[in-house]
């Protein structure tokens, strides 16, 4: 240890702290969720539990609002008038948007959540002290806190054998959230590196996207112009960046939009509007 080290390299450490985030990205992973074909079936959520060692909290804790679904499927009824919900229910898969200008990042006192050069909003479990400010400052409310030591009773033997060894099981007092399956991204990156090539579209797919029976979720690198995801962003005229974007006027009704774009958080998830046949 050394105080000396710190003094000598102060400018280096200082710069790191000051930068806060990365402005030169290697990748910017993003997602597109087509609400038109999302059926709200919960497969994504289940796949997420299986992949990311999410704890089952049980009825009592679910009742208290302490459930840990990184990927939750919200269901809205918007039929205020009329006797029946004739236009069906509205489903919205909600997960961490890995915002480019994430509101959770600046407020963490210990920088446990930060931006990676992959454009991910990373959460370092070991660094987290549990101040929970990040969750408070998240307009999407997609950060989940370990209110209890869930591992103690979530995986009675031999359920624990299912736990994914690629990532940790979190103990009480730690914030967690969707990581865009960072373990899969790392694996794919390592593999690409070993094979001495650049990561290609499709090398990495998140658990939710892989499971989605309708293929409503598309995952990929929004910086790679050939990826499916960036083509969709292109098509729907939404671009990365924190500021509200004006679309080409002739195409006002192109389906892409980002939730809470007006808050300038630059979400990485592009939702495509649900289409319903009003003629029916």
């Amino acid at each position: 240890m050394s105080f000396k080290n710190i003094l000598e390299n102060f400018s280096y450490y200082r710069r790191d702290a000051e930068d806060g985030g990365h402005h030169e990205y290697d990748h910017r992973f993003g997602m597109t969720i087509d609400l038109d074909i999302c059926t709200g079936c919960n497969s994504c959520s289940t796949a997420c539990y299986a992949e990311n060692n999410l704890a089952v909290v049980g009825k009592e804790r679910f009742e208290k609002g302490q459930a840990m679904h990184w990927m939750r499927v919200e269901r809205y009824w918007d039929n205020i008038e009329g006797d029946y919900a004739e236009e069906g229910a509205k489903f919205l898969p909600m997960l961490c948007q890995n915002c480019g200008a994430a509101t959770c990042e600046p407020v963490c006192p210990v920088a446990a959540t930060y931006h990676t050069p992959d454009g991910l909003n990373a959460q370092v479990y070991n660094r987290c002290i549990g101040s929970r400010y990040c969750s408070n400052n998240c307009p999407f409310r997609v950060r989940y806190f370990n209110f209890w030591s869930y591992y103690e009773d979530s995986w009675p033997e031999p359920l624990n054998m299912q736990l994914n060894p690629d990532l940790s099981v979190r103990d009480k007092g730690v914030m967690e959230k969707c990581t865009f399956c960072i373990q899969r991204i790392r694996t794919a990156k390592d593999k690409a590196q070993r094979e001495e090539r650049v990561m290609a579209d499709g090398d990495v797919v998140t658990a939710c996207a892989q499971a989605c029976p309708t293929g409503a979720i598309v995952f990929g690198d929004t910086m790679d112009p050939d990826s499916r995801v960036s083509k969709l962003w292109e098509k729907h005229q939404v671009h990365r960046g924190p500021f509200l974007q004006k679309k080409d006027k002739t195409n006002e009704e192109i389906r892409g939009y980002r939730i809470f774009d007006e808050l300038n958080v630059d979400p990485s998830i592009l939702y495509l509007e649900r289409v319903r046949d009003t003629e029916v």
Binding site: M1, Y12, V107, V110, R132, N146
Partner: protein
């Protein structure tokens, strides 16, 4: 109490030896009521300790927190105690530098209150942390891994602000007590004599010491005022720096400072009545002082009310849908009862302070001060909870009333504060002896001067001679301020 002192800050005829005797009497031989209060406070504190041990072991779920309500009463109570701590600074530092003499008999306990409420407040961020054992990570300690806290986070500012404020206000309290320590050293025996002997730092009351003391005290007072304001501004930025509706408010820093002073003054009123009653300090904590305090409270209450109304109207006319929703939900939603309690206690009750009869009626003042405190407590709650209950994402709307554990800890904090205060009043003088003497002296001097002026309207030279013959009593300040 005599009629005479009712319109005076203090009876200037008080003998100095009597002041010593009265104050020292308050420090000795606790009566039954004292022990009962200690017992009550201790019980509350122990309940909180038990609750905290349970919560530490089980996790913060024990506090009943959940996804939208990541923060709750702990943060509200933290803000409340921080706010309370502002009164001491106000009375000692601000009133000191503007030479408001009436502060002198009451500033000591106000300062103690500052320190103790900071000591109470300081617990809450710890209780509230998920992994409190890593608390030190918010400090920029030297680490060869080059890991720093995130200086952009208001919570880190909090850590700096509170620790600075706590140490400065403790120092301020201690320095202000040095001459009194010397008096106590001279009037006590046994372990107390030893204790005060150490604490008075070799005070002899000579000229040089007084001069240095004055300078230090003034310097600290000047240092403490901006610090106090910045501390609560920083606490407000815990909320104002976020993007949450109802938190992201530009007027929050002054609003929080006003609220802090408000709740501090209310707490001073409460303690004033208690101390006056229990220690029979009628001659020191006079109605006149109470009246001045209440007037100050009223003024601050109006500032707070004004800022509150500004916040409401800014939200209303700002047309930010989320902000507006939270405001409407506060007034009509599940927390409406609490919200209107806050409005009533914080905005309506202070108008009773307009009436002199009420201002001079101690039991009424006690009740009112408690109401004001309650109003200010729920104000903090109404800042934290409704926003979280109805923020941007309607899917995550929820109402939370907190668990038994949470309430136990919140109530226990009052026990802890009470305990500290109770120990304080028996160990240290809750009325500053030397400053009361000073006050008497000045008053006497003023009256004397007036009389002289009447007697010898033509000749003024005699006044100077009189002043010269005032002499210097032990433990009495020099007259450079006169």
């Amino acid at each position: 109490m005599s009629q005479v002192i009712e319109d005076k800050v203090i009876d200037e005829k008080l003998e100095w030896s009597r002041i010593n005797a009265d104050v020292i009497a308050s420090m000795q031989a606790p009566r039954k009521a004292y022990w009962i209060t200690v017992f009550v406070c201790l019980t509350m504190f122990l309940c909180a300790i038990a609750a905290e041990i349970y919560q530490y072991k089980m996790g913060l779920g024990a506090a009943g927190l959940n996804n939208p309500h990541m923060w709750d009463m702990y943060i509200a109570t933290f803000v409340f105690w921080i706010g309370m701590s502002h009164a001491g600074t106000l009375l000692s530092a601000i009133l000191h530098i503007i030479h408001a003499q009436w502060r002198k008999p009451i500033y000591r306990f106000a300062e103690a209150m500052t320190t103790f409420s900071l000591m109470t407040a300081g617990f809450f961020p710890m209780i509230h942390l998920g992994r409190v054992w890593n608390l030190y990570w918010v400090l920029p300690y030297v680490s060869d891994r080059g890991i720093w806290p995130n200086f952009r986070s208001p919570l880190v500012w909090d850590a700096f602000a509170i620790s600075t404020y706590l140490s400065s206000s403790a120092l301020f309290l201690f320095i202000g007590m040095i001459p009194d320590m010397a008096i106590l050293r001279d009037h006590t025996t046994g372990w107390r004599k030893k204790l005060y002997g150490i604490l008075c730092l070799g005070w002899r009351g000579d000229d040089r010491q007084w001069r240095n003391f004055r300078r230090t005290y003034m310097l600290l007072a000047c240092f403490l005022i901006p610090l106090a304001i910045s501390v609560h501004s920083i606490v407000s930025s815990d909320f104002a720096m976020s993007i949450m509706p109802g938190w992201h408010v530009t007027t929050f820093p002054p609003y929080f400072v006003a609220g802090a002073l408000y709740s501090g003054c209310a707490a001073i009123m409460t303690l004033f009545v208690c101390l006056r009653y229990f220690f029979r300090m009628e001659e020191y904590m006079t109605l006149n002082i109470m009246e001045k305090t209440t007037k100050l409270t009223f003024a601050i209450a109006m500032v707070w009310t004004y800022l509150n109304l500004i916040e409401f109207s800014a939200t209303w006319y700002g047309h930010n849908i989320y902000d507006k929703e939270v405001l409407i939900a506060k007034a009509t939603g599940p927390y409406a009862g609490v919200f209107w309690t806050m409005i009533f206690c914080g905005m309506v009750v202070p108008f009773t302070l307009c009436f002199q009869k009420l201002r001079r009626h101690m039991p009424t003042m006690f009740v009112i001060s408690i109401l004001l405190n309650l109003g200010m407590y729920v104000e903090r709650w109404m800042i934290v909870a409704p926003t979280l209950a109805q923020a941007h994402s309607p899917h995550q709307w929820d109402v939370l009333w907190g668990s038994v554990i949470q309430w136990a800890i919140v109530f226990g904090s009052f026990g802890w504060f009470g305990l500290l205060f109770l120990v304080f009043v028996k160990l240290f003088p809750c009325v500053s002896m030397y400053e009361v003497k000073e006050l008497c002296f000045h008053l006497k001097h003023e009256i004397h001067e007036e009389e002289l002026a009447k007697k010898h309207a033509a000749t003024k030279a005699a006044g100077k001679a009189e002043e010269g013959s005032g002499g210097r009593a032990p433990g009495t300040p020099g007259l450079e301020g006169a």
